[in-house]
């Protein structure tokens, strides 16, 4: 009797001491439990989404979205009660970002991802961090200003983007004769435009400005046309993990409330290291104010 009591007591002590560090702080969040077990936060990043998430001069992912994600990493460390967490960067593409969030390979996706309702069937989004829409980039000499000028011409579109769907839908709706060349990513689309393989490249306007600013001859290209889609960007996290999602939301709301969000924005866009120069728009300023929930 005595012996078995001791065994139970020992087992209980062991169980408590093992369980305590693993679950006391992570709560019911699978993402936080995963981060705590490994001591590493996996961040999914893009390679050419300038200036949101791209490979910088030091060969490290940098950008507006990465800075925001690193703020969330600090919040995770505080939540778990550790001094600091290692960050593991995983490159993702337009096609891989959603499956990698769904299967838990990455804990957050910090790129230039449009928040839409179809995607919300598979992933969850944090508050909107940027607002953009689809436009066209072309050579100034081509004389293209609107999608209607593309009659009989060739347009390049990156596979897996909302722009691809928006432009395909617009072409269908207006019954235009435009040939579509699918490209793998923004850099390949830009190469196709530079080498005259396509007449225009369609993407979110901010990304097009970024591509132009990094091209060999920025004056030769322009971004034109009306917005062909509405694309609010947000960071992605896993579905059905409201604890982790709330932590992300709280961090973002805090940044927006304190005005730090606007400072980080200014660091990357006004004009930022890539000379992109897009001052904070009224729409986005309002979005920040609306999303700055009180404690």
């Amino acid at each position: 009797m005595k012996f078995s009591f001791r065994t139970i007591a020992a087992a209980a002590v062991t169980a408590v001491s093992m369980a305590a560090p693993a679950f006391a702080d992570a709560g019911d969040s699978p993402t936080l439990q995963r981060i705590q077990e490994r001591g590493v936060v996996s961040i999914g990043h893009r390679e050419t989404s300038i200036p949101f998430s791209y490979i910088g001069a030091e060969n490290e992912p940098i950008g507006y979205s990465i800075d925001l994600c690193l703020k969330i990493v600090d919040a995770i460390a505080a939540e778990l009660g550790v001094d600091s967490l290692d960050v593991h960067y995983v490159p993702v593409t337009g096609q891989t970002r959603i499956p990698l969030i769904a299967n838990g390979t990455i804990d957050m996706e910090c790129g230039s991802t449009t928040n839409n309702l179809t995607r919300q069937l598979q992933v969850e989004y944090l508050p909107t961090t940027f607002i953009t829409g689809t436009k066209l980039a072309s050579k100034v000499s081509s004389g293209i200003t609107e999608l209607e000028d593309m009659q009989g011409k060739i347009i390049g579109l990156a596979s897996g983007t909302t722009n691809e769907k928006a432009i395909k839908a617009a072409i269908e709706a207006e019954n235009l004769d435009v040939k579509i060349v699918p490209v793998k990513d923004h850099s390949q689309g830009w190469l196709a435009l530079e080498t005259d393989r396509i007449d225009a490249y369609g993407s979110d306007d901010v990304l097009l400005y970024g591509l132009i600013s990094k091209s060999s001859e920025p004056a030769a290209y322009h971004v034109t046309g009306r917005y062909l889609s509405f694309d609010p960007y947000a960071l992605m996290v896993q579905r059905n993990d409201s604890t982790f999602e709330r932590l992300g939301r709280a961090t973002m709301a805090g940044l927006m409330r304190s005005g730090e969000m606007a400072k980080i924005y200014a660091k990357w866009f006004e004009p930022g290291p890539t000379k992109i120069n897009m001052p904070l728009s009224d729409t986005l300023r309002t979005a920040f104010e609306v999303q700055a929930l009180p404690e």
């Binding site: 699978p30 337009g94 096609q95 959603i98 499956p99 769904a102 299967n103 838990g104 179809t118 995607r119 069937l121 598979q122 060739i154 596979s159 897996g160 983007t161 691809e164 769907k165 060349v181 699918p182 490209v183 793998k184 190469l191 080498t195 005259d196 393989r197 896993q238 579905r239 059905n240 993990d241």
Partner: protein
């Protein structure tokens, strides 16, 4: 894993049609690239085993160049760099006016790359038939062309049926690299389904099954070909 499964997506319009059309383009790329690879590879294989030092050198240089550069790099070189080396009119034709520029480039690039591999198979097949056969043929008064036509090649091709089958299976699977230059074949279609429905796991499972069905069929057919064409007393006995 947090995921909403929906296998029905694969059989819904238009996604089922996309898979079928993707498979169609995959087969077109593989078969046409195989025609290039097999014919050019055979000629080069004969060059590499011939008695002429010039022909041997041509074969060797071709193999060394095309076999040693990764196929993905070759695809990019043909698609992005090669047209820039041409005069303006031609360059424009290759990039714009040529029928299906990306598809044609992919077929040629994959065909030329695989030709270097087929060349090595053919050469080793001819070597396996043996030097004695070659000399015996010349001794009874056949010309070198006749020796190849009547003795070396009929035996060599029988010997290399199993490795050539592998080569074809490789070309079939490598055709998926064409999506990197914008050809919408089976893998690209699968990705497109993922992009439209965000049901990536179902879409990629479908691609896996379709690729496997085709490769198993090819293997079964080639095993029969190997058995039926085997010559008694030689080493082509329908192995594989």
């Amino acid at each position: 894993m947090n995921y909403n499964w929906d296998w029905g997506v694969l059989f819904r319009d238009p996604y089922l049609g996309w898979i079928i059309s993707g498979l169609g383009w995959t087969l077109v790329i593989s078969l046409l690239a195989w025609v290039i690879a097999f014919s050019l590879g055979s000629v080069l294989g004969i060059f590499r085993s011939s008695s002429s030092p010039v022909l041997r050198a041509i074969g060797t240089i071709y193999v060394e160049i095309f076999r040693n550069i990764p196929l993905l790099v070759q695809l990019f070189l043909w698609y992005f760099v090669f047209p820039e080396l041409l005069p303006d009119d031609w360059s424009r034709w290759v990039k714009r006016d040529m029928p299906a520029p990306a598809m044609t480039t992919a077929i040629v690039a994959i065909g030329l790359y695989t030709a270097s591999r087929v060349c090595e198979q053919v050469r080793s097949g001819i070597d396996a038939v043996g030097f004695d056969q070659r000399q015996a043929g010349r001794a009874i008064g056949l010309t070198e062309v006749q020796v190849y036509r009547y003795i070396l090649l009929p035996n060599a091709y029988r010997i290399i049926i199993p490795p050539l089958t592998s080569e074809f299976l490789t070309i079939f699977k490598q055709s998926s690299l064409a999506l990197t230059i914008g050809v919408v074949e089976l893998t690209a279609m699968t990705r497109q389904i993922e992009e439209y429905t965000f049901q990536g796991f179902e879409a990629f499972t479908a691609a896996t099954v379709v690729y496997s069905l085709v490769t198993f069929t090819v293997m079964a057919v080639m095993r029969q070909v190997d058995k039926r064409t085997a010559l008694p007393g030689t080493f082509s006995k329908g192995a594989a």
